[in-house]
Symmetry: C2
Subunit: 377 residues, 2 copies
């Protein structure tokens, strides 16, 4: 059995004001988190796993005996897995502004007794990692053996290594970028427009309403899913195959399998995600721009002391390999310790949640060599 078994999501509340990058001071913040494995005596075997856009703290294991669905990165986290819980103390938190246990726009504002809605402050990727750092402090973690994430999680891992250079020993950046392309911003912007233009959004105040902005949110999710796949994945999964029919319907029902897939993804998403959280988190992602924030990518990474593992996927057109290579080249120019691997995959951006065999080997080997390196040092 190489599962972490049954896990309970835990909660920690930061009572003191946190100054956000916008200048707003905000409290209290409850953070949902899970841990797997045990913190060692030196408190230096912790690995922080960071989820992507719509993920949560439940990265590994099961929620109950009957639970059939393991955490979102269970393939990589557990005894004898790359993030080996026999060796490491693995932590995963739900993002600030999210809707899976951590304080976000759907949480009750203690000052009003009502959900924050869009009175919730707009935040940045750096804000989200400062809040995660508070949780690690609370858990007694003295340094991070590694911080790892895919997509938006990779942005946060990068930012962690920059904001806390002494604290972070290594960072694993998967399918990520130091800044979104205008095209990626465009997709996020249309998704947000779809939510905001849904009459049920009601300026973010819909939590006690019967009709929620599910229509807008599901369109946003459908757009997202197109960008997570790639042409090759689309051909492999659907091609131009029709959905449960031999001939065109000549009406506006679903004709093609790809339509059915997207519609389904949109429909199931609204049951687990909050439209306002989608607005806030995509905005944080759009704002992320290390070059602009630090003057240059060199400046951004100059002070880091982490070892880096950068992984990209050749068919990822949302955060393409060229963007990963920019990070890698910058780190190399700065004489940082960086390993890079472009994985061939037919899965597009989604690959970081699918291509486990290769990722396991690369990540496992990186973390092991890392130990060796430390022993030598």
């Amino acid at each position: 059995m190489n599962s972490v078994g049954i896990v309970n999501t835990q909660f920690y509340t930061i009572e003191e004001n946190i100054k956000l990058e916008s200048g707003v001071e905000f409290s209290p913040i409850t953070v949902a988190y899970e841990t797997y494995g045990t913190l060692n005596k030196n408190a230096d075997n912790a690995i922080l796993i960071i989820h992507a856009l719509t993920g949560d703290a439940h990265a590994a294991g099961y929620k109950s005996e009957d639970d059939k669905k393991a955490g979102w990165w269970d393939a990589l986290i557990g005894p004898n897995k790359p993030f080996d819980t026999n060796k490491y103390f693995v932590v995963c938190t739900n993002i600030f502004g999210g809707c899976s246990g951590t304080t976000g726009p759907s949480s009750i504002n203690p000052n009003t007794g009502k959900p924050y809605g869009i009175s919730f402050p707009v935040f940045t990727i750096e804000d989200t990692i400062k809040i995660q750092k508070k949780v690690l402090d609370y858990l007694g973690v003295k340094s991070l053996y590694s911080v790892a994430g895919g997509s938006m999680g990779g942005m946060q891992a990068m930012q962690f290594s920059i904001t806390y250079p002494e604290f972070v020993k290594s960072a694993i950046l998967i399918a990520t970028t130091s800044k979104l392309s205008p095209q990626a911003i465009a997709f996020n912007a249309v998704g947000r427009n779809s939510i905001i233009s849904d009459p049920a959004w009601n300026n973010g105040d819909y939590y006690d309403k019967e009709i929620k902005p599910d229509r807008g949110l599901s369109i946003a999710r459908m757009i997202g899913h197109i960008t997570y796949l790639c042409e090759e994945a689309m051909y492999n999964k659907f091609g131009r195959r029709l959905q449960n029919k031999e001939h065109y319907d000549f009406n506006f029902d679903i004709d093609f399998q790809v339509e059915s897939y997207l519609k389904h993804q949109g429909q199931i998403f609204v049951d687990r995600f909050d439209a306002n959280s989608y607005l806030y988190i995509t905005k944080a992602v759009d704002y992320f721009d290390l070059e602009n924030k630090y003057g240059s990518l060199e400046n951004a990474f100059k002070m880091t002391k982490s070892k880096f593992l950068v992984i990209s996927f050749d068919t990822d057109w949302l955060f393409p390999s060229s963007q990963a290579k920019e990070i890698v080249n910058t780190l190399m120019r700065l004489n940082k310790d960086v390993s890079y691997c472009e994985i061939k995959s037919p899965c597009g951006h989604d690959a970081f949640l699918l291509e486990y065999d290769v990722q396991s080997k690369i990540i496992g080997s990186f973390l092991n060599n890392h130990i060796k390196g430390d022993n030598n040092g």
Copy 2:
């Protein structure tokens, strides 16, 4: 002066029933069309220009003395231009199902006195060209010297050469494909979902309502515009530049120029286009699949007698060059007379409406050689 000058859109009504590919028989159909130049005695100097997804019959010239905006392909149509109105009788019609003068879902159903809405029949690309053929017959055209179009217009041009092999002497296929990829279907499907899930769509019955499905339609248009540009165009036009500000706003207003552009495109679109027409026309585009319709692309083109000019743009990722090359390779295998040019452009799919210098030369030369060929023949 190389303009066709002031033109009036004209109308022709097909009274007899047209049997559509769905099996539905439909009449009457009024078609909006414009003509430039004069039909010669042999009635064999006509060129049919076919518009793309949201175009109209106004391909060249001006609507009045004060009109500042020329027709959508004015750069290519006029005296001494590639589609030389001194030589050719140029015809352009608005597509069946459209909303710029030709009968479509917003037209009044004479049997009910109310707009068709979604009682309008779902149609195919072949249906649209059969209707255009009726207009050409009415105008006395005996054969088409050429039929030309970009994007969906190219699909129709292709279909014209297949359905009427004796009638079509040459076909100019620009930025087009013999079938949409699943990704392109996906974008159309999300656009349609956006319209249909807009409460104001009201099952297509909104013409007498105060609020129309503008929100859904504008989201659909924004999605479309992302696919018409390419990464390079996005970087050139917008980069990550902010819109009229130096710093992030930390709210949900527009931050980036690309957001502003898309929002504007969405907003102006709803003033000129009908949401139901968008549903019908994108459906026709999704259904277009020559391989499936004829068993193979070879079978589709086997009977054609046209010369072909195929143009693609290297940065077009909606209908990429690889799809154009499939058409070209098929035509070559069939020993058809085909010229192919991949134009380097930073403009993506939009290039067929922007890159006029190169297109002018290629199209002009193709049409001239074509004459020469005919004289020799």
